[in-house]
Amino acid sequence: MNVMDAHSHLMVKFLMYKEAGVELNIQMMDKAGIDRACLFTSDFLSTDVSVAPKAWEERMNEKIAESVESYPDRLVGFGTVDPKIERAAERLDSLIAKYGFRGAKFHPWHQDFPCGDVMHPIMEVAAKRRLPMMFHSGTPVYAQPLAIAWMAEYFPDVPIILAHMGLTCMYVDAVHAAKRYENVFLETSAMPYTPVLEKAVSELGPHKILFGTDTPFLYPYIEILRIQRLKIEEDDKEMILGGNIERLIDRSTP
């Protein structure tokens, strides 16, 4: 089975976490039996006063591109832009062209934006390039699953992935969103409720659920163990553990 992680981060120094390079990701993937992973930055906003936000954004995207270049068979790059800085949509468009990223990751509370009009020009770029758009979800106020999923109606061709499928306390919203909108998908990292996962598979269909780990914040051998042990069909498991995210990435056009 080809296992692909839909959610992993390149670690930079962040609060009590230590800085680590892409090698840590590869080690953790090997230990968990993960073949490939979508890679995002973990430092969405500048933490260095001497680096302006736009330059910081460029630097973080460049790091993702470099990491993917060093492990092209293992990693798939996702870019990000700060939606609050003007011409964000254009920047995303040129990032994709420059680095060949296959999706984008947004973090509404880290990046400090509400998922309303500010995202629309960016979503148009995503529609044009058929990019999967991953959003951190489940943290009130800015990362409410329904606030993110609301965009699905306006951009039916854009796959919207709710990372953490509502992050425990907002799982109800995430499941409802995925049920209401064809183009809303749920990613499994940090979702400890196995009955919710099993119910989501049976109610929404296995094609809606994407395995993710949130590596290295969380440990992938734990996140994958939970999915492997679900009481669902083996074929469904195969889709969840890789087939679904592969399909979304394959239809994107860098």
Binding site: M16, Y17, T139, A190, P192, Y219, Y221, I222
Partner: protein, 247 residues
Amino acid sequence: MVYRIFDAHAHIGKDLFCKMSAEELVDGMKNWNISKAVVSPMGRAVISNLAETNDELSSVINRYGDKLVGLAAANPWYGQEAVEEIDRAIGSLGLRGIKLSPVTQGFPVNHEIVHPVIEAAINHGVPVLIDTGFPVLSLPFQFGDLAKTFPDATLIMGHMGLADYNWFDALVVARSCPNVIIETSSQDCQISFEQAVKDVGEDRLVFGTDIPHTDPVVEIRKIETLDISSAAKSKIFSENIARLLAL
């Protein structure tokens, strides 16, 4: 290394998305290698008719000898009636502590409405397990606010703040409140436990599963594979909860 495992946070009954009978729990415990579980009711059963709930809990527990230990359901909305029910549940039914579910029962964990329940726990010398991690009602700092109000109460912080970076807050609270015990269920960030051992010591963490909401095998694996000593794991897996509940 094989650890003796006590589950400090197990449930029987029916909740929004899962259910579990005592029979299923005890059967499962054999497979999961859990030798004792601290059980509390959940869902509708903790909202009203608490005497009935606690009677049933106690009779189920007695059926399984020393495999199960019970935490009484108490609903702070009932005021003096809740206190009397706690007196009965601890004094006559043999339940060993109290469980509060701020989201199911609908109260901010640091609201005055909770005070009589905590005072009753202090009177009986039993700990209170409280779910944390739910914004508005029971975030770690709200839990900490309660812990500071009642330094003599032993308060177990269920889920260690649960999702996001709430565990950072959980540690800030635990460091300043020696009466706070951290419970591990459904906290997916293993770094949080390693940091907790460094910050507040291995005596103040208790292993829990929150069964049937989670997969106990995964919850156990999270602790087994931590980068801490085997002695610390033994404490977290059973010794600490055994001390707290005199098991």
